[in-house]
Amino acid sequence: MDNEHAVYARGLVKRFGEKVALAGVDFEVKTGTVTAILGPNGAGKTTAVRILATLSEATEGEATVAGFDVRTQGHEVRRRIGLAAQDATVDPLLTGRENLVMLGELHQMSRAEASTRAEQLLGEFSLLDAADRRVSTYSGGMRRRLDLGATMVAHPSVLFLDEPTTGLDPRARNELWGVLDTLVERGTTVLLTTQYLDEAERLADDIIVIDQGRIIARGDARTLKRELGGDHVQVVLVDAARLPEAERLLAQVTGAKVTVDAGIRSVVAAASNGVDTLVQVATALSSAGIAVEDLSIRQPTLDEVFIALTNSPAYDEPVEASPEGVRS
């Protein structure tokens, strides 16, 4: 048994008929750390989580969670995990309290134990006021908090969160991040999936970037960003006619590849020296007399990460298979 790794996966493959959702991935999550699987829709994130949470069986490969084999010791795995699926799966017809008590009982607690635990969680997740209202009356953020509380009912040693903040407004998202911080401080091992680089960076010690069922990069946020060229400087011009000039200047200063978006009159390039680069760009633009509407330094977007890693945008249409089998 492997105590160092709460999650340990080797050669996971999942095929649905012809479609390959996971094309053989190896990864592990150290006990007591947070790992994010980052990738666009359809990359295989949910499939990986479903296999680890014993909801789906891998076509090939093996995995252990909390030291137990997900294929042959599913019940032992389920006793030790909490899963928050992509849509909050708390029961809308039950109250918040009823949801937690039911899950406690299904985690094999006595009714009294389950009630005590529910009360405790409602307090921790700031839901005491709404405890006896039906979940159907909750806001999206409250529902997610309850969902997180629900995964914590049985003090799981490993927590799986599948896109925990998708569909939340920025405020609810921030709130939820705060809640996740406290979980993490207590030392729960967390594997979460996300489409947002900032979320992965904010929450995770370790990031696994996945695309079309394959791991294409991994490391902590700093390493990844260094690999990906880190910060980007973006210049938005007043006059689109000067874009070629600005592109040339930016290329000179940064020495990096420049992306031009004529639609929003913007040029972007990796800024290897952060703010220093920004100052150099500003100076160069102003001495060339190019009027600037906006000048900023920012993190690469997921799309830029994917362009850097795969040379294809994250949200591109999947390439159709060549119609070899169609010959009749």
Binding site: T31, T89, L93, R186, G187
Partner: protein
Amino acid sequence: MTTTRPMIDHAAEPPRSRGLLHDTWVIAKRGLVHMRRQPEQLTDATIQPVMFVLLFAYVFGGAISVPGGGQYREFLMGGIFAQTVVFTAFGVALTLANDRKNQAIDRFRSLPIARGAVLSGHALTNLMKAMLPIILMSLCGLIIGWRIRSGIGDAVLGYGLLMGFSFAMIWVGILLGSAIPSPEGVTGVGFTVLFPLTFMASTFVPTSTMPGILRVIAEWNPVTTLADAARILFGNPNTPTMPGDPWSIAHPIAYTIIWIVGIIVVCAPLAVRSYEKSLEK
């Protein structure tokens, strides 16, 4: 670099399993709360059978006579009992389809619960739900002049037979709910398959009035024999059997019991397999 945090505060060993019955009951309780909080979804078990009793008793009743004599209203009750019991499948299929739609099933499956507890919980809820229309209809029947004219033993057997058939139909419902992906699809199949099935039987009219092939179908339709068996066991008017009647009509109670056992033996394993397959995505 990653930092290893202090060990977790969770209990050293999670609680031991309390068994299938415990888990089944927790899930059945959830189903009962759902029923209580969605009274509009109970119409198939409450308003609908009562409405059928009243409509047929008063609108069609005058035009239909029971061969062998007796009140049509009393004849009618056995039929609507049978129809209502068959519709049990419908409710089960809908609850399953809804659970899958809102991903509740995924949550259950990530819990350390006994294998099969989700299905048996649904089955238990629906068995309790099946009692509701039978009780309501009995009350409604008493008001319009229906009486149990047999002994207590027969009456208990009659109600037992209805519940037994309900239990069998629950497995048909699980099969439907697993095989058909959406609640809308379930409704469609319910109306195009189950509904006619309950009309091609002695539910509302004696089978002797039906033409050729339809009559043969009706005579072997278990809905007919369930209705006939209920009439016999409650001591209500029923079409008298003739020499030359098929075996099903001559022995409705035995024939119905064979169907109950047959449906359970065939459908339960199929339903469990189909349900488990429907979860794998």
